[in-house]
């Protein structure tokens, strides 16, 4: 038998560096390995011995796109360990900050990184020649998300205003007024975005995913909730390690996460949507139907529609939170450090971001464990790739390459978070 290799030296429009090896033997896909070779950054190690106060500012550096996710999960863990809960307007401000991150991250991915795949453009710059209006809307949406981060977080990238117990400074009502105006316009643009992406041609693929997401009794979960799946998982976030495990695999510097009893699972927009459809406002459900989505979506290529839908939701939710805002009495609640273990889990744009910390009596971090969303999705990405490539294994390499790259971008993977460019090799024999 002959061996054939297809290489994409650098898969653009993903965050981080990695490669994909696809092996095809006798017309059958025998393996699909997402190889992440970016060196680990040892965040969990160098957090040891640092103060809980420093924690949110250190973990924010894990990612320039989703720093809020790391900040929110970490402060929640601190508060969990020290026995306090952040409620009321401080909680609402955290949710508002998170909405900002969803808006900027989703808009960037949907318009600038993923849409070109569906329309046959090599990048957003070429796409802008024909679709300048939508690219402008994407940039304006990202700007609106960034405006929330700038006001509540102090700056767009790696915000500096989050602390255990709340914030260092909270906004006045007047400061939120211009933000609301920008978000109203952003909401309309996001609705246009849903309608636009819904017109794309989507490859046929239905996958029987185990969806894993957070679930809250009253809200579309972002900052808190139980961990549930569409199989039988319904646990407190502190029980994550009883149901899930991380494994070293030879081809990746990022750990692979699995449901112990079953295997691969999916986190992120498709999982959140499927498990929390009933928590979405009627306006969003209606828009979902208009976009051709049922209450559950198992086609990974439809993730771009769900991501656009979540962008509308985040704009509406941000507007709701701003309308209900009253300046809290204090920017943060007091914390008394104590020895113990704390857990935090929130819905990053790409899926659940789970943290566990052990603290000394003075609040010094003794041990840290951080499970980012992309590392959890790795096994699922590999299964998707095998499923996508199988029916087209005899097609020309370029066809396989394009669809595999598009499949990877369905996940908006943040390889930097999970441990930068992706190289795709197809080996045929």
């Amino acid at each position: 038998m002959t061996t054939k290799t297809i290489k994409v030296e650098y898969l653009a429009r993903v965050e981080g560096e990695g490669a994909l090896d696809l092996h095809i033997e006798g017309g059958q896909v025998t393996s699909a390995n997402l190889r992440i070779f970016e060196p680990p950054r040892f965040y969990e190690a160098f957090l040891q011995g640092r103060s809980h106060i420093e924690l949110p500012d250190i973990v924010a550096r894990i990612c320039g796109i989703c720093p809020v996710a790391y900040q929110m999960s970490s402060v929640q863990a601190v508060e969990n360990a020290f026995g306090v809960r952040v409620e009321g307007q401080l909680r609402a401000l955290r949710r508002l900050l998170y909405c900002g991150e969803w808006i900027e991250s989703h808009a960037l991915h949907v318009v600038m990184l993923h849409a070109p795949d569906f329309l046959g453009y090599p990048d957003a710059i070429r796409m802008a020649e024909k679709h300048g209006d939508i690219v402008r809307k994407g940039l304006a949406l990202k700007k609106a998300g960034n405006a929330i981060l700038r006001l509540l977080g102090g700056r767009e990238i790696h915000p500096v205003n989050v602390r255990p117990g709340g914030f260092y400074k909270v906004p006045t009502k007047a400061e939120l007024v211009p933000l609301a105006e920008e978000l109203k316009a952003a909401r309309d643009m996001a609705v246009d975005l849903v309608r636009w992406v819904a017109t794309f041609d989507f490859p046929d693929l239905e996958r029987d995913y185990e969806f894993v997401a957070m679930r809250h009794p009253d809200e579309y979960a972002i900052t808190e909730g139980r961990l549930i799946s569409n199989r039988d998982i319904d646990i407190d976030i502190s029980d994550y390690e009883t149901e899930f495990e991380e494994r070293h695999v030879a081809h990746s510097t990022a750990l692979h996460s699995l449901v112990k009893r079953r295997g691969a699972y999916l986190v992120g927009p498709l999982a959140r949507y499927a498990l929390n459809y009933d928590r979405l406002p009627a306006s969003i459900q209606s828009l979902a139907r208009e976009g051709g989505l049922g209450p559950v979506c198992r086609n990974p290529f439809h993730s771009i529609v769900v991501r656009a839908l979540e962008t509308v939701f985040a704009c509406e939710e941000a507007l709701r939170l701003i309308a209900a805002y009253e300046v809290p009495e204090a920017a943060s609640i007091p914390l008394e450090p104590r020895a113990g273990t704390g857990f935090g889990c929130t819905e990053a744009p790409r899926g659940i971001c789970w943290h566990r910390y052990e603290f000394e009596a003075d609040g010094t971090i003794r041990k840290a464990r951080i499970v980012p969303p992309t590392s959890q999705n790795q096994p699922c990405i590999e299964e998707d790739l095998a499923a996508v490539a199988a029916p087209i294994a005899s097609e020309p390499d370029d066809v396989i390459r394009h669809l595999c790259e598009q499949s990877i971008r369905n996940y908006d993977p943040c390889i930097s978070c999970s441990t930068h460019f992706l190289k795709l090799s197809v080996h045929r024999s």
């Binding site: 960037l108 710059i125 802008a128 300048g132 990202k142 767009e156």
Partner: protein
């Protein structure tokens, strides 16, 4: 033409915590207080998509950034984008897929780019996190600042006589 002063933005790009990528911010420090009052000086650390908004409303953009892939660390390139493209064999480092070249190309496609764009590129050597600027790059900071002051004066003068 009205003869009104041309609105010039000097944009210094880079991350001072990543070795030679700190060249842009170092040039900004050298330029502080040295530019005409009607010229705007900005420092940005790398979100190119956000930077496109910074250019809005300016008649001319002068960018300074470190570049990788050259063969002579510290060498200064002046690139007038009306006359030539950014060299493809040099990487203007930026996080998250959008570098200076992509940012300018996108802004031009969308009609958001200032009509005049001059890029000063300083060839870098080491972009590792937590490192200092290499001596040849640090030595290029003052000369680049001097060239930019002259460039801004020339741009404003050009408008004045236009």
């Amino acid at each position: 033409m009205t003869g009104a002063a041309r609105r010039v933005l000097v944009l210094c790009i880079g991350n001072p915590d990543r070795g030679d990528d700190g060249a842009g911010p170092a040039v900004a420090k050298a330029l502080a207080g040295a530019l005409p009052p009607d010229a705007t000086l900005m420092t940005r650390s790398g979100d190119m998509l956000a930077m496109i908004e910074d250019w809005d409303g300016f008649d001319a953009l002068v960018c300074v950034d470190a570049a990788a892939g050259g063969s002579e660390p510290g060498r200064i390139h002046r690139i007038d984008l009306a006359e030539e493209e950014l060299p493809r064999d040099m990487a203007f480092l930026s996080s998250h897929a959008f570098g200076l070249g992509e940012g300018i190309a996108l802004a031009r496609t969308l009609g958001l780019a200032p009509p005049v764009i001059i890029v000063f590129a300083i060839e870098g050597l080491c972009f590792d996190g937590g490192t200092q600027m290499s001596p040849p790059i640090a030595a290029a900071v003052a000369p680049v600042a001097g060239q930019i002051i002259a460039e801004v004066a020339r741009l404003q003068e050009r408008e004045h006589h236009a």
